[in-house]
Symmetry: C2
């Protein structure tokens, strides 16, 4: 039994019948899944039946922080948000930081499970174990910043922390996100799940303290971690000052910064504008998640007409890509403005930008015309149009309705073979890595249980040349199956489940993360793990998530990449001539499945599931 | 000596040499001026020399709340902000509510005097008597809502209350305001004074309690007041639900709602849109100042393209006029959007709208052309242009620079006799009362020490037909001198000085306000007044403010109205055929000066000044 860290309570809220239930966090769930993504996937697998409509009352929306959130362990104020994704129909999972996750713990809960559908727009108010349903009639339609401020005023408590949706989530855009402060649980359309439940916001305030199993041990484990952080060659010296935008240069140098819907080179001529220039002339400070000594989140202010004075927390590297490179936009300030607008409207910046880029390519090719766009000029690089489209998407207005559900749905609506230009995997738009020049990233996109998701199995080996667990050649397919399994399992086990910041893994802890997580778990919760046990938790979660998807009908055919990446080699730059051929993909998948102990159709074997304590899953799926 | 209410301390901050000084509030100042506007004008008169540059380091910026702010007296969480106005070169004074005024008291101060000019962008952080200067380098350029949030994050205290300027104040727009929460100390360009001092914001947090001289007496005096409030035929039944927008209908029925820069009728065809329709379809709640049981401040959300989702606190009646009627705009949602944008940019909504309306008339008349506007179409009613102009004004971009200092400066720059179409008095743009059909309002505009300012001597007698102190005919000039003196002195004494909400006077307390203020003063501070003494305080303040203006060179010639209102009778509606002729104005001024005990050039007589205890002022002005 755990002795600290966890509150030990799960809050279950049914919006249909307005019931509230506190349930114990079962010790076995804690031990086997740690928290965060682990809890989300465990509850999703157990409670959301195959075929459930992602935007119907049978889907659930789960918010789960980790055992370290709210302790003195830095960089742990994060939470996972889970549900069946309306965008992919697979597991939907997104992580976010800020202060909400910790506040949820202080209010008494390790996780929150939202069920059913409210009859009317509603928000939930959780204060130290007391839960109230409140009308969101007046909040419906509000942008996310205003929504949060109005709720604070209404509750007469400026210290309330709020997660909410914008108009995009209300209008069931499948690329809608959930916003807390100016942070997003961005991807997979979980904002639409929240919207479909008529749930505008969750407000939380708590004052409880968390027990710690062994304070002395915690000091030691914490020291291990902070020492590694201090020893990082980039974390404080570079990353704290630049945030994720700091990798722009590296990405362009590698020739894998996607431009113009992946149709052009992997370099971006105005890279200096979006990278160092932006940082130098637009940076106005930074924000930190609760308890984070790094503060990677950079605040930027637009300086030129007509965007001057617009503030954004970000744009992160991914938004520089999605509102910059991939749309061909090189106007710094429009990227800042688009980033803010997407947050205000509650649209995932990656999916929104990539879908706009897709529309731009169709426009350039004459497949979409000004007749379709009601006169809007959708040429690559048109930043005014980009801003207008974001609003139209969130409100499903005019052509915005066509883009509002992401690129896959859009291609299906248009037909005419446009699917091959839609840059997604399983429906989830590609992040800012042109995987033609980074094959482990490609394999991760193809196999991540959430679709094209860099965060589920990021390969720092390819981007930063880190030779852990071994050195790799980013252009070579061989060996990427094993690497991807390692990246996915370690990341899941040491970041997504304990809800630790992923940047720590990449920049400070990469080799020592499992051991450090084991030490922290022992110190905080009293639960015993070896570092292998920790990695096994990651493997368990990845297998259970895979099982969820298999149960939903996903097969090996879905573990693929956009056709363009397999057919068109990169035209220029440091990855010139590279692509992931169908043979590459086959080779990588075969190796990956073998490493995972899955059969060659991508279904976990009974043996593997039993090894992971998931025999019941093997039964469910009738695994051999 | 006062025994409660006041903190007894004035905080003097010099930005040039970064010195901080606490000074006692002198008992005579408290007794003679009560607080708020009284304190502002007393300090301005004593400390800002004639001819001081309003945007130079010799001007001062004073924030003063009242003795009741922070007590249990409702509707008293207000403060006056004072400085020499860059817009008028006369006394600049603006009142605002919210929570900042009370927080300033809780932090230990009755008033704050800001002097000098910081070398670099700065903000001031006042916490329970501790004062710090902090860099505002990163805040410079931010809109007002973001600015407040970023400061809260930076100070790691979400309960901080902040008054700040937007880009307009930074760029020294003479119509820039100061914003706290979404409230404005709007008029007379005090935002530019703050900007000229390189002062972006003042953040305040306090926890002290205020002493009360006689709690039992306070209960009684408070009861008097709340009973009058409950007995009001409109306060809770109507005003709490509609706010100031509720008077739209009345104003149109009286035919005094100004349209198209006062060139058209005093009715507005789409009045229902801006009035009841807006309230019915756009209202999403209300906000209250600290301790206010009414909550007149209505939140509105825009619903239609391209403004949908934009929230505004307001638009108040005045902004419905300035962004609606006077510009000829009838698009509800654009008015909401303009109101919000002006608040974010830190532009006074009245002056901004009226200046835009002036530009529109010049455009319609061909005096401004698309060459001047770089292609913008400035026809009356063009709401897209209105929104674009606001941004351009705040950033002094293109033609925005021409509009950024209000209509008087704009007419001076353009020349060509355009001054006669510029709707201001002493440089301050006219509020939403076409005084051709409300002559006491006209006289108040002409004589208010701040220029065309409805708040300094509002005449509810003309608008609501209230026969206190006597019934009046709004079309008649006779008797308006005496009435205006009464309105100005009573309002100053019972609202502006004790910083009580003016709406209470108009809707609940009109006849009993002086007695009630006397009772409250006795109970809270222990200071003794008769109701005549209270009115005398108002008279003292009005005379001292007049003396300030006389010292600056203002004469009877400046107590005038825009030529149009004296030359062009209203063309239609319930005030058809009305204007304030030059003869009317002369008659009213003569009567007013006589009632005030001023000579017929508008200079206070020595006798009057001595009567008010202002002998030294008589000496200063060499009065006879």
């Amino acid at each position: 039994m755990y002795k600290g860290g966890y509150t030990g309570k799960i809050l279950r809220i049914n919006l249909t019948d307005k019931t509230i239930k506190e349930e114990p966090l079962l010790p076995k769930t804690a031990k086997d899944y740690i928290g965060g993504a682990g809890f989300c996937i465990k509850y999703l697998y157990d409670e959301v039946k195959a075929g459930a409509d992602p935007i119907g009352p049978d889907n659930k929306l789960i918010f789960a922080s980790g055992p370290f959130s709210g302790t003195k362990i830095p960089c742990a104020s994060r939470m996972a948000v889970g549900g069946k994704s309306p965008l992919t129909n697979a597991v939907g999972l997104a992580l976010t930081g800020g202060h909400f996750p910790v506040e949820l713990k202080f209010a008494g809960y390790d996780a929150l499970i939202i069920e059913g559908k409210a009859a009317k727009p509603t928000y939930i108010w959780i204060k130290d174990g007391e839960v109230k349903f409140r009308s969101a009639k007046n909040l419906w339609g509000l942008k996310t910043t205003d929504c949060q401020q109005i709720i604070k005023n209404e509750l007469k408590d400026q210290n309330v922390r709020i997660a909410c949706i914008g108009p995009a989530g209300e209008n069931l855009s499948k690329i809608a996100c959930i916003i807390n402060e100016m942070r997003a649980a961005g991807r997979k359309g979980l904002g639409a799940v929240m919207g479909s439940k008529n749930l505008k916001a969750i407000a939380v305030r708590g004052t409880a303290a968390l027990a710690i199993a062994d304070k002395e041990k915690l000091k030691g484990a914490r020291k291990e971690m902070t020492t590694a952080m201090k020893n990082s060659p980039v974390l404080y010296s570079h990353f704290a000052k630049m945030g994720t935008s700091g990798i722009m240069d590296a990405m362009c140098a590698l020739g894998i910064f996607p431009t113009k819907n992946f149709s052009a080179t992997g370099e971006f001529a105005p890279v200096d504008e979006l990278g160092e220039e932006m940082q130098k002339t637009r940076n106005v400070g930074s924000e930190s998640c609760y308890g984070c000594p790094v503060g990677c989140s950079q605040l930027k202010m637009a300086r030129t007409t007509p965007y001057q004075g617009i503030l954004s927390e970000g744009p992160e590297f991914e938004s520089l890509y999605s509102f910059g490179g991939v749309t061909g936009v090189d106007n710094i300030d429009s990227v800042i403005a688009a980033d803010r607008l997407a947050d205000e409207l509650g649209l995932d910046t990656i999916s929104a930008g990539v879908t706009i880029a897709f529309a731009m390519e169709l426009y350039e090719k004459g497949i979409l015309t000004t007749k379709d766009t009601e006169g809007l000029d959708l040429h690559f690089g048109n930043h005014e149009t980009m801003l207008v489209l974001l609003r139209m998407m969130a409100f499903r207005e005019g052509i915005g309705d066509l883009l509002a559900d992401g690129s896959k749905a859009m291609a299906e609506k248009i037909g005419k073979g446009t699917g091959k230009l839609a840059m997604h995997v399983k429906g989830l738009e590609l992040p800012g890595y042109d995987v033609r020049g980074a094959k482990a990233h490609g394999l991760n996109y193809a196999t991540s249980y959430t679709g094209a998701d860099h965060n589920r199995g990021y390969a720092p080996q390819e981007i930063f040349g880190i030779p852990v667990p071994y050195a790799v050649d980013r252009f070579v397919a061989e060996g990427k199956g094993k690497l991807t399994k390692w990246n996915q399992d370690v990341r899941t086990a040491t970041c997504d489940a304990p809800t630790m910041c992923g940047f720590l893994l990449d920049m400070a802890l990469i080799g020592s993360a499992p051991q450090n997580t084991a030490s922290l778990m022992k110190a905080v919760t009293g639960l015993e793990y070896t570092s292998d046990d920790i990695v096994k938790v990651g493997e368990r979660i990845n297998n259970l998530a895979r099982a969820f998807n298999v149960r939903e009908g996903f097969t090996r055919e879905d573990d693929t990449l956009p056709e363009r990446l397999m057919a068109e080699p990169l035209k220029d730059g440091a990855s010139k001539g590279q692509c992931i051929s169908k043979e590459d993909l086959k080779l990588m998948l075969d190796e990956y499945y073998m490493e995972r102990g899955w059969d060659n159709t991508g279904v976990p074997t009974r043996e593997k599931l039993v090894e992971l304590g998931l025999e019941i899953v093997a039964d469910d799926l009738a695994c051999k």
